[in-house]
Amino acid sequence: MNLSNYLVLASLLFAIGTATVLLRRNAIIVFMGVELMLNAANLLLVTFARIHGDLQGQVMAFFVMVVAAAEVVVGLAIIVSIFRTRRSASVDDVNLLKS
């Protein structure tokens, strides 16, 4: 089996993550879709590290994980504070800026 199968799997996961962000309304599920996209990118990076025989790709995937952890903290804090004021976790209800 060729290594490109990993790349196809990563693309598929990325596309499913994109569709989740576009289709779901629950802010937490949308956020999990973003996480899925980040994970798919990580799989791509690890596979390319192996193809090129260079550890730089793995290090980049490591940095993506750290940034994703920071992003999750801030994102979930935003979701919680919106839920406190609007009593809803649906992305449709965040329309305060709409005149």
């Binding site: 089996m1 060729n2 290594l3 199968n5 990993y6 790349l7 196809v8 799997l9 693309s11 598929l12 996961l13 596309a15 499913i16 993550g17 994109t18 569709a19 989740t20 576009l22 289709l23 779901r24 309304r25 937490i28 599920i29 956020f31 999990m32 996480e35 994970n39 990580n42 799989l43 690890v46 590290a49 192996r50 193809i51 090129h52 025989g53 260079d54 550890l55 730089q56 793995q58 290090v59 995937a61 490591f62 940095f63 994980m65 750290v66 940034v67 994703a68 952890a69 920071a70 992003e71 903290v73 801030v74 979930l76 804090a77 979701i79 919680v80 504070s81 976790a89 649906s90 449709d92």
Partner: protein, 277 residues
């Protein structure tokens, strides 16, 4: 130490033709459908908890694939950071926000569902098309880069040429922690109501200081529905729980007395009639 080195050297290297070994092929074909299944669970699950479980499945499978792909360090980090920390955080927030807070099925944007589905399928088609048509170099594998075990090799890159990025990421993490503190901080609009304030309010409203008396305990009746008797033999109405009083399930002391055939210091029937407002 030897066990650790065995675990770290477990992932098989590439075969001479740049292909992966039979064991890894089998692992891939077992895990890949499971991962796609978990990801589709995220897309289609009605309940947010099921979606979260699907993502956990994907993330743990990814850890397996990383380990198989000569990246055991990233495999461990994947389990610790993603499934251990990130997904637990997600589940905490899910419980905080309300598990049954499900999606609304009202379309606010017309045709969003179809456009979103088309865009998702289109993304998949474009990405897979690019990968299928691209000519990749023959895979080199990481055998030489991982000569001193994978964590050592990764550490050389992180603490060598990428040390500045590493420090910036540390600053980013601290900023994110502070940002979460600021975002979830709630400003107090009304003064805090503590134990002292509650007690003061109760006294001001004319309540008693002591707790309510416990329900009556008699020789043959030890139940919530029978009032206790005060030192003079009067029944204490407040000792029966409020719910039983409202439902009319209270038994009077007279009934109990008749049942047990005892005598009270004062005739309860007399007092009870007198005490009723």
């Amino acid at each position: 130490m030897t066990q650790l080195s065995v675990i770290l050297s477990l992932p098989a290297a590439l075969t001479s033709g740049g292909n992966i070994s039979a064991g890894e092929t089998a692992l891939f074909w077992v895990l890949a459908p499971l991962m796609v299944f978990g990801a589709l669970g995220l897309l289609f699950a009605r309940k947010a908890v099921h979606a979260a479980l699907g993502i956990v499945l994907v993330m743990i499978s990814l850890a397996f694939l990383y380990t198989a792909q000569e990246a055991p360090f990233l495999g461990v980090v994947q389990v610790v950071v993603y499934t251990g920390a990130v997904m637990m955080l997600f589940l905490f927030v899910l419980m905080l926000v309300g598990v049954d807070n499900s999606d609304s099925l009202v379309e606010t944007l017309k045709g969003q569902r179809w456009i979103g589905a088309i865009l998702g399928v289109g993304t998949a088609a474009v990405l897979i098309g690019v990968i299928r048509t691209a000519t990749l170099d023959q895979a080199k594998g990481l055998t030489s880069a991982n000569a001193d075990s994978n964590p050592v090799g990764v550490a050389r890159v992180i603490f060598g040429q990428d040390i500045f990025a590493f420090e910036v990421v540390g600053v980013l993490l601290i900023t994110a922690a502070l940002g979460a503190l600021v975002l979830t901080h709630r400003q107090r609009l009304v003064p805090r109501v503590g134990q002292k304030e509650r007690a003061d309010a109760r006294i001001a409203a004319g309540g008693g200081l002591a707790p309510l008396a416990a329900p009556g305990v008699y020789a043959r009746s030890n139940a919530l529905d029978t009032p206790a008797l005060d030192p003079e033999g009067r029944p204490i109405e407040e000792s029966v729980p409020r719910v039983l009083r409202i439902r009319g399930q209270r038994r009077s002391a007279t009934e109990v007395q008749a049942q047990i055939g005892g005598t009270a210091a004062v005739d309860p029937a007399q007092i009870e009639e007198g005490s009723q407002p």
